[in-house]
Structures are given as structure tokens and as C-alpha cells.
Symmetry: C2
């Protein structure tokens, strides 16, 4: 009689698994998100098979990560982002160039033609900001300069990765049927995406600062939340129309809302939304890890190589870009850029559909994208504590000793700030 049974069971299983594993992870001094991703691996098709990712769960995951980046934007001030603008730009650019170059070279050495090598390399490029944003929010360090650099760089990274993928796709088959590459086309795409971010970011925050009285007008006390949620969904959709990830638009909507005088109330009201929806993103991400893949030694070896390459190249790119922040902060920034998450998976799907990737390459890239998401949270949490306090050695002790201390004025830290 009631057809909703299956989906309600999936919702319940995802939600309860996320709560339990997140709690366990936190008791083991790990970010809760690690527990949620592992919960997804366990209840997903690889192990227990209790949930099967599909349209509905994917949509809930998308809503979850959109709300998360909206909330992160809400806790971020445009002024603070501007102050780290140059570092964020360098991290964004080098975080694209180094992994793309490294992975192209590797794929070519493995025996692929240059056009295919670059397609494979495109899957190594785009950072997925969701995982890192969650770690930063969980650790309550969104106000630190490393966090602001990572968030700014994620926006730049997404624009460049989108552009690069477009170029690489149009390069395919250029040997046989002549080049499809039209430089003017890509200049237009770049200009559109940059214009979208700048216009929405600058103009939106400017309007919000001057006119936040429009949030007070409606009858319903919930209405200011409703208005910014509409803005969030609208910009998330609009940014996909410009070829960018939905989370970029959601982050911009959060930035705009954070300039209004309703900021604190909105932060407060957004928290229950995150509590309900974000577990879906992380559990579904975990449920997509295909452990069967690890069954053959060849795949396992390729996966290890690809993951190490993905982590190291992104880390180096981000690290070099952020060196003006000092050595330790630059390491935290580099690690924060490592997760590829669902963006790598999208590129892999495109490559499979276009006949460029074999099933093995596809599976390896998907697993690599997810593994980068799984390894990042503990490493990032440790590096953030290390950057903050030079005496940090054991992360478990460190988190117990100073759970929320913000920027102690240690000499080393002061030195890194001079830049």
C-alpha cells in the first residue's frame, strides 16, 4: 500500500550508520567524516549491500554537499577571502598544473597516446571541496588563513578544471579527423565562468551589505532562511549552467548571506539542515568505493600508483602555491586540496562513455578519487594542528589538550604571518 518503504529504509540506514560511525570516529580522535565515509563502504554494495546508490540517494547527497558549502560560505567573509587572494590564486593554479602535468607524463609512460594521457590526467585535477570543508567546519577552524586559502583556491581550481576538461575532450581524436580545438571557444567559457563568480561574488555581497533589510519584510519569521535557501538552490543550479560545480554556487550564496545582518541567525538555522542532510553526501561517497576492484594484483598496483601520484602532485602544487603562508601552513593547504571525490568520478564516467578509458582505468580512477577523500581528513586534521602549534606531535594528545584554541601566539606562527 505504501510505496515509500524502500527509500525510507535506505534513509534510515544511511542516517543511523552515519551517526554511529561518526561518534566512534570522534571518540578515536578522528574527524567524524572519516567514520561516515567508512559507514558508506560498509553498508554499500561492496560489503553488506544494505543500500544501493541510485537517483534518489545521489540527489540527497547533492543537496547535502550543497547545504554544507552554503554553510561554509556563511561562515566566510569576502574581505577575508580577498586578503588571501594571491595565495589562493597560486594554490588554485599550481594545484591544477602540477597534477595535470604529472599524471599526463605518467599515463604517457604507461603507454597511452598524448591525447588519451591528458584525458586521464584531467581526472587527477579537480579538487572536491566537500570533504575538506567538512573537516574545517568540524574542527571549527574556518576562520584560519589556511581555510580561507583552501576555499578561495577551490573556486579557482574548479574553473580551471572545468576549462581543462573541455579542452581535453575536444582534443580527442584530433589525430584522425583534424583538431576540434577552437581557442576562442575556450576563452569565452573561461570569461563566462570567471565573470559568473566575480559578478555574483562582488555584486551579490555588495547588495547584501547595503540592503539586508529585504530579509525583514516578509510576514513569516522563517522567511529570511527561505530567501537565502532559494538563493542557494538558484546559484547552485546556475553555476552548473556555467560548467562549474553546484557547490561553487552554494558557496557564493553563503558568502552573500554572510554579509547580511541576519548572519548569526542564519548560521544557527542552517545547522539542523546540515545535521539531516550532510551525512547522505559522505555515506553515499563511501558506498561508491568498489572493494571488488582490489581483488586483482594488477588493479591494486595501478590503484596504489594512481593514488600516490594524485596525493603527491596535488599536495606539491598546493604547497608551492601557499608557501607565502609559511612551511607548516602550506602543508595544511596542500593536503586540503587533495580530495577529488565525485569530480574525478564524473571525469572517469565521461571517459568511459567516450570510449577513451577501459573498464579497468575507469575503476582505478573512481577508486583513486574516493581514496584521496578517505586519506585526507586524518592527515589534514593533523597538519592543521601542527601548523597551529609547533609542539604538536601526537594528534590524539593535541586535540585532547586544546580542542578549540584559536591561533596561539607561538613564535613560529608569528613568523609565518609576516608574509
Amino acid at each position: 500500500m505504501h510505496p515509500a518503504t524502500d527509500i525510507l529504509l535506505s534513509l534510515f540506514l544511511v542516517f543511523i550508520a552515519a551517526q554511529i560511525t561518526s561518534e566512534l570516529a570522534q571518540r578515536m580522535k578522528m574527524p567524524g567524516v572519516v567514520g561516515e565515509i567508512i559507514a558508506g563502504v560498509i553498508i554499500g554494495p561492496s560489503v553488506l549491500g544494505w543500500i544501493a546508490p541510485g537517483q534518489v540517494l545521489d540527489a540527497l547527497a547533492e543537496i547535502g554537499v550543497v547545504l554544507l558549502l552554503f554553510a561554509v560560505g556563511l561562515e566566510t567573509r569576502l574581505e577575508d577571502l580577498k586578503r588571501v587572494g594571491l595565495a589562493a590564486f597560486m594554490v588554485g593554479v599550481l594545484g591544477v598544473v602540477v597534477p595535470f602535468g604529472g599524471a599526463s607524463l605518467w599515463a604517457h609512460v604507461e603507454g597511452f597516446a598524448w591525447d588519451k594521457s591528458m584525458f586521464i590526467a584531467a581526472a587527477f585535477v579537480a579538487t572536491s571541496a566537500g570533504i575538506t570543508a567538512r573537516v574545517l567546519q568540524e574542527m571549527k577552524v574556518l576562520q584560519r588563513k589556511e581555510s580561507r586559502v583552501i576555499l578561495g583556491a577551490a573556486v579557482i581550481d574548479d574553473i580551471l578544471a572545468m576549462l581543462l576538461l573541455g579542452i581535453v575532450v575536444s582534443l580527442q581524436g584530433s589525430n584522425s579527423s583534424g583538431s576540434n580545438l577552437n581557442p576562442g571557444h575556450f576563452v569565452i567559457i573561461l570569461v563566462e565562468a570567471v565573470a559568473f563568480v566575480l559578478v555574483i561574488g562582488w555584486f551579490g555581497t555588495h547588495v547584501a551589505r547595503r540592503r539586508s533589510a529585504w530579509l525583514d519584510k516578509p510576514l513569516n519569521p522563517m522567511s529570511s532562511l527561505n530567501i537565502v535557501l532559494a538563493l542557494c538552490l538558484g546559484l547552485a543550479w546556475l553555476s552548473t549552467k556555467f560548467g562549474l560545480a553546484a557547490i561553487i554556487g552554494a558557496f557564493l550564496a553563503g558568502l552573500i548571506a554572510s554579509e547580511t545582518d541576519k548572519r548569526e541567525q542564519l548560521e544557527h538555522q542552517t545547522r539542523p539542515l546540515l545535521a539531516l542532510m550532510t551525512p547522505f553526501f559522505f555515506v553515499i561517497t563511501g558506498s561508491k568505493v568498489d572493494l571488488q576492484l582490489l581483488a586483482t594484483p594488477e588493479a591494486l598496483w595501478l590503484l596504489t600508483l594512481a593514488t600516490v601520484l594524485a596525493v603527491i602532485t596535488k599536495f606539491i602544487g598546493g604547497y608551492l602555491g601557499a608557501l607565502t603562508l609559511g612551511n607548516r601552513s602550506a602543508m595544511a593547504v596542500g593536503m586540503g586540496m587533495v580530495p577529488r571525490g565525485e569530480v574525478g568520478i564524473v571525469v572517469a564516467s565521461l571517459g568511459l562513455a567516450a570510449g577513451v578509458f577501459s573498464n579497468l582505468i575507469y575503476a582505478v580512477i573512481v577508486a583513486m578519487s574516493l581514496l584521496t577523500s578517505v586519506v585526507t581528513p586524518p592527515a589534514l586534521a593533523w597538519l592543521l594542528r601542527y601548523a597551529e602549534d609547533p609542539t604538536t606531535e601526537d594528534p590524539a594528545l593535541a586535540v585532547a589538550a586544546q580542542p578549540t584554541t584559536d591561533k596561539p601566539s607561538a613564535p613560529d606562527h608569528g613568523a609565518s604571518r609576516e608574509n
Copy 2:
């Protein structure tokens, strides 16, 4: 590159349409939910075709109504429900018997055999509590006795309707292949459903009252919300396993949570969840109204007959059951039971799949179910004000004059309370 574009656009359109129309409806002194349903008709396939109901939107709608009934349960005390137990029971029983009898008779007069007539009549039975619950919440009258009777009756109604549908389905084809009816089977179903509601309701609230300290244990300040949300999703799923609507389980979860000492904090935290999710339920409900149906005079005539019959029989059943509350309150209760919403649609789908209904009968029943939901909110709002204040004549004036006054001690009202 980003496959989520379509679903994000649908989310945005549903959400923004709901906000605008809800605001307009409220300015016209109508419940906001009327605007949201009309928004669904307009942006749905019937008119603009901007959204197409599908798996994802249906799931979001289901989550929306589950959260709504959870929130309504959270604002309800078991003690208050018990105090109106007898009236609620009578409303539940008569609200099933009168529409079932009336519709069976009508269908038989229209020329159907008795077994098919009873199947058709089953679609006239089940009240869908979502619409009424929203009106009661919007008007802030959940504490009034009419509201408590309606909510209690909705639980009883759902049990009886589920049972009746099972019996009617098993009666089909009894003329040709002998009766499938096994009375023992239905006694078991009835006992299971009643036991589920009583055990969860009594035992759950009892435990919650004594041991609400378990909500304080976890590290995360959001955790008490997470625990009750897990309870809500779990009981919503479980109640579908007992043949009941998911909203019954969600309502029970809310009742349990309302006995804890975190009640007010939870009410506060649930509001943003409702703001985000409930518009989906009402807009999607509206989007399923098929206006094409109204194109033929025959269908229009059948639809008018069916809707009038559905409204009148349910109203009379509820009214008679609630007469102990006094004449005016009984009218409000009767009207509160009128919406059939998605439950009638589920019965119609079953009948179509079983070959019992023609496409025309199917379309008429679906439209009737939705029309009962559309006509209820304004009538219910008016009757609730009328029951509260005997001088009410113009609902627009009444709402302007006393937006939230609770139970004025007018003589007429006092008289109705004696019972």
C-alpha cells in the same frame, strides 16, 4: 560535466514557487499551503511543465511530509491525546464507515458489481493527515481539542483504511474463483497494527519521560536532534512495514520526543528542516493534478460527483464522531478529516494495476483525492475560527482581528466545553 543540473533546477523551481505563492496566499488571508498546492498545479505538467514528478521529487515530498508529522507530534502531548481518546476513536471509525458505505452504494448505483464498488469505495476512505496538520500548524492551533481529535483520529483512520483495503483487494474475483477472504488473516493484521501504535506510543513515551538523559550523553551538541531524527526515519519506515502510512510512525516519533526535556530545543531545531522540506510535499501534490482530465464533460461530471461525495461523507462521519465536542468544533473536525491526498492515489494505482479500474475511473479518483486536499485548507481555517469565536463571519476580518488569540471565554464556547 555536472550531472546534477536538472535536479537542482527542479529543486530551485519548486522551492521558489512555494515561497512566492505561499506568501501571496497568506496576504490573501488563506493558509500558505493553498498557495503551495496551486504552485504545483501551475509549474507541473498540467500547465507550464517546468517540473516532472519522478522518483527524486517523490522521495523529497515523502521526507517533507514525514518531517511535518514529526514536528506535529513534537507539539503534541500523549496526555492531551488520551483525554480526547473516545472522540478521536469515534471520528476515526465513523470517518471510515460513512464514506465507505456511501461510496460503495454510489458506485453500485453507477453500475459496478459489489466487489468492484467496494474497491472504488476504498479510495474514498483514508484521510491523509499532511494537509490538515500543516493548516493546524500554520494557524498555531495544535493545542486545541479539535486538533488533538483530528490527529488521534488520523491514526485510527489509517489503521482501519489499511485493513479495509486488504479485505477489499482479497474480495476481488470472489465470484469466479471462490472467496480469498480469510478472516483470521485480517485479525492478525489489525492486531499487529494496533499493537505497533500502542507499544511504540505508550512504551516509547514512557521511556522518553523517564530516561531523557540519554539525549545528553553524546559529544556533539546537535546529537539530540540526530537521535530523534534517526528515531523519526526508523519509525516512519517501520510503520510502513505494518501496512501503515510512514507519517504515522513519524508522528509517533514526534510524540516520543515531545516527552523528553529537550522538547523546546528540538521544536526550535526542527523548524528550519520544515522550511526546507515541506514545500516539496505540497508542491509535488499539486503537480499531480491532471487538468487535461477536465477536458471532457463526462469526466468533469463524474469528478464533481465523486468529490462532493468524498467531502460530504467524510465530513458527516467526522462530524458525527466529534459531536461530543459541540456542534461547531465537530464541524471543524469533520472538515479536518476530508483530505485524501496521496492515499487515495495509492488505492487508485492499485485498482488500475489490478485491472479493476478503467483509466477514466483512475483519473477521476486521483483528481478527487487531490481536490479534497485543495478545498480543505480554506474551509478548515474558517471553521476553526468559527468554532473558536461565535462572532466570526468573515474569515478575512477574523484573522486580521485576532491572529493568535487562544480560546476566548465566550459563552457559546464554554457551553460546548461542558461535554
